[in-house]
């Protein structure tokens, strides 16, 4: 390929570069210091779609949702100052969950940087801890290669958010546009690839000798596209798989070796298996405190293998016996051929007992007058045949979604895990709708969380995003109420939350809205929503005082779960 040479403005170069990165959609909100970029968009509108959001936080979550659903880099844009600072929550969310997004901010002209000019914020400074990397482009000649590097850094290695801050004079400056075609060279950036031969043979020794092994599958499994390999490893060695919240979808829900989610609100069998295992094979996960409970009592009898692309995660929270800093996809290819076919009959039997006990306690078996959140999720699963992409928000709604929507495939469960960002769900689902065209997209969100980013309903209608929004209305900031119930003597301080009439809100935004308070109405209402091409809101009025079980209180041993009392002997929990 020859070099392209043309005299272009910084704003034009910006769009040229985005198009070369394959960007088809960008979520943004204009302002004084991005005006040149917006003006130049008129020349590129046939190639890139700009989605006007209602808030810059929404734009970042949309880019994030798009990225998680598609595996591509999501892009968001904001003006300087308040526009840029509104992005911080979205950047932090993407950083914690290793989501590849590129955020562009306008900046005051270079000659006034540092003078507290109107709408000036040191955004590269402010976002230092919540970005994988960032650029302040102070010379138009650096623009093209900075954008190129930003996309490369965002999507490779352990993915993450990258910010590009572009002063207005750089957007207006002109230069000969030479799109760099040489390989990107970053002398300090070399994501690791392979495990050493020694590591492979040690791992195999440990795996083949284990009697009670468990695979821990994290977000890294989805990011590295290794769900099939994890399944192969599990089936070959008869090794059960427990997933993190973000690892859901690593193995089909109904797979006999699937233990389900582990951790604070994990399945009992998953936590018991971890605690009793003699080998943990941790794949692309980071032993978050929500996953391990009390460090000193965590899986005390096991040897541990930890495979992660980020060296910082190894031996950070949990000391392991074999740390492999490499690309999971490559390591699994190196390891699987040497794994011996095993039965683990005793171990499998033990796990079946735990599962049986958990099933007996299941809330779904309980007859109730009012709707229970778990029933709603179970019906949504039934009504979508388990095939939808479900984007959840944060709180009880998120945990019951994770527990009761059986996800069978990677990238069908999207949620803010590491940061737990309320308000993520709706905008992330709008972003998802630009990536996913062949599946239903459902949002599961609380009455609190929806009100954090409710303004994006306008974006959903404007774009006719085909999303179905299920508000689980329990009248409370439910998860906080649950902690008050369990640890603060049921003093519900500032957790009852007033909400508008959500059906009327839907109508006001000119989208269909329904309210459901009976279990038999769930499926028929879903059918109406599914028949409508575009956003639909359904409010599910559920039990106010329901509790998410099991629960490992923060910092407690993983096996000391607070369990749901046996059904049907428990009449009322509160």
């Amino acid at each position: 390929m020859g070099k392209e040479k043309r005299e272009l403005t910084g704003a034009e170069i910006f769009w040229e570069c985005l198009i070369r990165e394959g960007v088809e959609v960008i979520f943004g909100y204009p302002g004084g210091y991005t005006l040149p970029i917006y003006d130049a968009l008129t020349k590129y509108q046939d190639k890139v779609r700009h989605v006007l959001t209602r808030h810059e936080q929404g734009a970042t979550h949309m880019a994030d949702g798009f990225a998680r659903a598609s595996g591509k880099v999501g892009v968001a844009m904001a003006t300087s100052g308040p526009g840029a600072t509104n992005m911080i929550t979205g950047l932090a969310t993407a950083m914690m969950d290793s989501s590849p997004i590129v955020c562009i901010t306008g900046q005051v002209p270079t000659n006034v940087i540092g003078t507290d000019a109107f709408q000036e914020t040191d955004i590269t400074g402010a976002t230092l801890p919540v970005t994988k990397h960032s650029y302040l482009v102070s010379d138009i000649r650096d623009l093209a290669h900075s954008i190129r590097e930003a996309f490369y850094i965002a999507r490779t290695g352990r993915p993450g958010p990258v910010l590009i801050d572009i002063p207005k004079d750089v957007q207006n400056a002109k230069t000969e546009f030479v799109y760099p075609t040489s390989p990107i060279v970053l002398p300090g950036y070399h994501p690791p690839r392979r495990a050493t031969g020694e590591q492979v043979s040690r791992a195999l020794e440990m795996i083949n000798e284990a009697k009670r092994p468990v695979i821990l599958a994290g977000h890294g499994v989805l990011i590295s596209g290794t769900a099939n390999q994890i399944r192969e490893l599990a089936e070959k060695g008869n090794i059960p798989v427990a997933t993190t919240l973000l690892g859901i979808g690593s193995i089909p829900d109904q797979h006999p070796l699937n233990l389900g989610m582990m951790g604070m609100h994990g399945k009992a069998q998953a936590n018991h298996a971890v605690q009793n295992a003699d080998l943990l094979i941790a794949c692309g996960m980071r032993f978050d405190d929500r996953v391990i409970g009390k460090v000193s009592t965590y899986s005390p009898k096991s040897k541990k293998i930890h495979i992660d692309i980020d060296a910082v995660e190894l031996n950070k929270n949990i000391k392991v016996d074999l740390a492999i800093n490499a690309d999971l996809a490559v390591v699994l290819r190196q390891i699987i051929p040497g794994v011996r076919v095993r039965k683990h009959a005793h171990w499998t039997r033990k796990i079946k007992e735990w599962i049986k006990d958990a099933d007996r306690r299941d809330i779904l078996n309980k007859k109730t007058d009012v709707l229970i959140g778990a029933q709603v999720i179970n019906k949504i699963w039934e009504g979508t045949e388990g095939k939808a992409v479900v984007v959840s928000d944060v709180g009880q709604n998120q945990m019951i979604e994770a527990q009761y929507y059986g996800h069978d495939e990677p990238h069908t469960h999207i949620t803010s895990g590491g940061l737990g960002t309320m308000g993520f769900g709706l905008p992330a689902a709008i972003g998802t709708s630009f990536a996913v065209k062949d599946r239903e997209i459902w949002v599961v969100v609380g009455d609190g969380g929806i009100q954090m980013t409710i303004s994006e309903l306008a974006t959903a209608v404007q774009e006719n995003a085909n999303i179905k929004i299920a508000i689980i209305n329990n009248g409370y900031l439910g998860m906080v109420r649950q902690w008050q119930q369990l640890f603060y003597n049921a003093r519900y301080v500032e957790t009852p939350i007033y909400s508008p009439d959500f059906v009327k809100v839907a109508e006001a935004y000119r989208m269909p809205g329904y309210r459901v308070d009976k279990i038999e109405d769930i499926i028929p209402t879903m059918r109406k929503a599914q028949a409508h091409q575009g956003p639909v809101l359904i409010e599910f009025v559920v039990e106010k005082h329901d509790t998410v079980y099991p629960m490992v209180p923060a910092g407690e041993p993983l096996h000391e779960m607070v369990r749901r009392p046996h059904v049907p002997s428990d009449a009322k929990e509160n």
Binding site: L136, P187, G188, H190, Q199, A311, K316, N325
Partner: protein
Amino acid sequence: MQHTIIALVEDKPGVLNRIVSLFRRRNYNIKSLAVGPCETPGVSRLTIVTDENDSIRQNLVCNNLLKLINVIEVEDVTNVPTVIRENVLIKVQVNAQNREELKNIAKERNARIVDEGERSMILEVTESVGKIQATIDVLRPYGILEIVRSGKIAITRGDDRPEIKNGVAGRGTESSRATEQVNNYLY
């Protein structure tokens, strides 16, 4: 326990800020930090002294540093044969009676007199940290007016250049490749 880390970083705006910010945000303490150009143009060399007792956390310091995009190589040289020096300028009070005495002390202690005033003189000492401290202690009774220290700088003994021993296996080769690349990249 104090650890000495050598880091090679790209000489670009904001890189030092990224490094210092990392230490603050991960709650690591910096005892001293010295920065300057090295043998490769476009690359700065840092010597960082930390006081991190926990060896796991110390390892994380290095891996966290290496994770920064602009950081090319990191080596913890605490347990490696290393020449460590610090440069110190000491302004000490002097009078007609003790001027000769101080000059002798300077000579004995390998300190250069870089400025002589009527009532003070400036001594320059470049030594290992222990010897510097001893010199300061000897000078203290005369009345020290000012001390400025460069922070420690370190270089490993022997024929090798820094190689990453701290990162997880596989990094070593990656890192030598990084050095090659930086050489190609910068010229």
